[in-house]
């Protein structure tokens, strides 16, 4: 295997990984941007997306249907949670939000275990996307190419959505000044529920897309949340562009890092997190919380 082939393959790997991370990060950053809370349960919603996706695929026999249905279900669950529980906490300190979303993580983890059992689940990629394509003589999974494309489409779409639609404008406005938007007559509470739902839904999409690659399992949650958190710290909490950049950065470090030092993936994440926090000492949230 020549170096060019290796490089391209690994770069594509990193891009596909980055796409998955992007789905997670953009959801978390969106929630933080609008609501100023860190959704600790974000990893759990990701996991939920994978498991619901598994069931959806088995129910409908169609991966694409699952890709639509599962995130919607996850988004609904997220919005319901915000409505029922998070709403009661506004005005309390950040610790309360963290604890409650942590509690949700526990609840979801157990609900998932009850519903689907402890064994890791295999979600097959759709037939149209399975198999490999040859790049410079190296085989590369088509599914991963699909991920890169999906990530790119959503990144572009999200950007356009924020720039050109009314809801996008509303979201951007609210993230800058919530009171002002409220004064203008918009129902902030509705915006919040919607945004939390969308954020969780995005995590859910990430979960469904990730399922064929990693096989859904109960360990996904906490590591996903750490990865995502590192990304949004790097890119900037509440910044859409930041979530793209951060996701790509982390993905490249992870992919090339695990190639050269296979056992140290988690240590790498920790190291990145610590480094970022040293360069920006309070953490981004340290200043805003």
């Amino acid at each position: 295997m020549d170096f060019a082939g290796f490089l391209i393959t690994q770069c594509l790997n990193a891009l596909s990984q980055g796409a998955l991370l992007f789905f997670l990060a953009v959801g978390l950053t969106l929630i933080f941007g609008i609501m100023r809370i860190v959704n600790f349960a974000h990893g759990a919603f990701f996991m939920l997306g994978a498991y619901v996706g598994y069931s959806a695929v088995h129910l409908t026999g169609d991966f694409w249907a699952a890709l639509i249905l599962a995130p919607l279900a996850v988004a609904a669950a997220g919005a319901a949670f915000e409505l029922g529980i998070l709403r009661r906490l506004y005005g309390r300190d950040g610790g309360a939000f963290l604890m409650v979303t942590f509690g949700l993580t526990l609840v979801l983890a157990d609900l998932i275990r009850l519903t689907w059992g402890v064994a890791a689940l295999e979600v097959p990629a759709p037939a149209s996307l399975s198999g490999v394509v040859f790049i410079l003589g190296e085989p590369f999974p088509i599914y991963r190419l699909f991920l890169v494309a999906a990530g790119g489409v959503v990144a572009f779409g999200g950007w356009q959505f924020l720039e050109r639609t009314r809801l996008g404008l509303l979201i951007r406005a609210t993230s800058q000044n919530a009171e002002m938007v409220h004064a203008l007559g918009t129902d902030i509470r509705l915006v919040r529920s919607t945004v939390f739902g969308i954020g969780c839904g995005l995590a859910g999409i990430g979960g469904v897309l990730a399922a064929p690659l990693v096989t859904a399992s109960l360990g996904m949650g906490p590591n996903a949340v750490i990865d995502t958190f590192v990304i949004v710290i790097i890119g900037g909490m509440g910044s859409f562009a930041g979530s793209v950049i951060g996701a790509l950065l982390v993905a490249f470090v992870q992919v090339f890092g695990t190639y050269y030092f296979p056992d140290l993936a988690l240590a790498f994440m920790y190291l990145i997190m610590v480094t970022v926090l040293v360069i920006r000492p309070g953490g981004l949230l340290g200043k805003e919380a």
């Binding site: 860190v38 600790f40 529980i85 009661r88 906490l89 950040g94 610790g95 309360a96 963290l98 604890m99 409650v100 942590f102 509690g103 949700l104 993580t105 526990l106 609840v107 983890a109 157990d110 609900l111 275990r113 009850l114 906490p222 590591n223 949340v225 750490i226 958190f229 710290i233 056992d263 988690l266 240590a267 994440m269 920790y270 997190m273 610590v274 926090l277 040293v278 000492p281 309070g282 953490g283 981004l284 949230l285 340290g286 919380a289």
Partner: protein
């Protein structure tokens, strides 16, 4: 005054317990005391300094594996092994605390979680020390070269745990009522003002993390010879969550509350697991409910009713 008497009575009851309780109840009680110690150690961080840790299992696991190794591979007697393991936890925690306090708020919490996850991953790989996924088994309650057999039996070990818990409690009480404790309280209520007054708040935070991990490590170090084994479950994030639940539900910032929370947790877990497998779900829901509606916890509620401020 009533509370003081009540506590004395409780200690007396605990001291006399082996005389009246059947063996399975004693085993449960021993485990409750160990978890109580664990929860109380976290309270120093969460309740008194508002340093929310999602990775306290790291302390427990460190202590358990350290004690396990000492007891399995050396002739060090039980009590010394436990103390050494606790010290090890505390020392490691200085470094951990130093890193984690680089950040505040959510970032701090994430760093504690990340460290625990890291330790969890390491434990799977470092077979020589941790036995990887099998863990360490057959951990003895060594009498050591001087034949200290007093704590080897079930009852003897129970008293060992009780003594350690009481000592730790006295230590913690002294700490939170001291000038050091007053600074912790300042950090809890307004860290930037505390800094503006001239305190090096970072140093205090690192110190309280070290102490909390040391005592948490003590609990883990007691667990290893109690159960006879140590495994990666002790480092798992779910366990970190459970001890946090014990603190909040029991009553953060009271030292006693978390001990009660641990007992409550264990009791309910035992009772529920007869009927269902999902006591974790139950506790997650209880946790959320308490954070929402009873943030002062059971003990906070009880002491408020008795006419005294819940926090000291």
């Amino acid at each position: 005054m009533t509370i003081r008497l009540g506590l004395l009575a409780a200690v007396l009851l605990l001291a006399l317990a082996p005389l009246g309780l059947p063996i399975y109840a004693m085993t449960l009680l021993t485990e409750a005391l160990i978890l109580g110690l664990f929860a109380m150690s976290l309270d120093l961080m969460v309740g008194y300094t508002r340093l929310l840790s999602f990775g306290h299992a790291a302390a427990y696991g460190l202590g358990a594996y350290a004690a396990g190794n000492l007891l399995l591979h050396t002739a060090i007697p039980l009590v010394f092994a436990v103390v050494l393991a606790a010290l090890l936890s505390g020392v490691v925690a200085i470094g951990v605390g130093w890193v984690c306090t680089l950040a505040t708020g959510v970032s701090f919490s994430m760093l504690t979680l990340a460290f625990a996850q890291l330790l969890y991953a390491v434990a799977f790989k470092w077979t020589a020390v941790t036995g990887a996924s099998d863990g360490l088994a057959g951990i003895p309650r060594s009498a050591g070269p001087f034949g200290m057999t007093a704590f080897q039996g079930k009852t003897g070990f129970y008293y060992l745990v009780l003594i350690f818990l009481l000592l730790a409690f006295v230590l913690c009480r002294a700490l939170v009522n001291s000038p050091f404790g007053a600074v912790l309280r300042g950090i809890r209520e307004n860290e930037s003002k505390t800094r503006a007054l001239g305190y090096n708040t970072r140093a205090y935070k690192v110190a309280v993390v070290a102490i909390a991990y040391g005592l948490g490590g003590l609990a883990g170090a007691l667990y290893a010879p109690f159960a006879g084994f140590a495994n990666t479950e002790l480092l798992y994030w779910l366990f970190s969550g459970q001890v946090l639940i014990m603190v909040i539900v029991g009553g953060a910032g009271t030292l006693i509350g978390p001990i009660l929370g641990a007992g409550f947790f264990l009791l309910v877990q035992q009772y529920l697991s007869v009927y269902t497998d999902s006591w974790a779900l139950f506790f997650g829901l209880v946790f959320i409910a308490f954070v929402l509606f009873v943030p002062q916890g059971i003990w906070g509620l009880a002491t408020a009713r008795l006419g005294r401020a819940g926090r000291r």
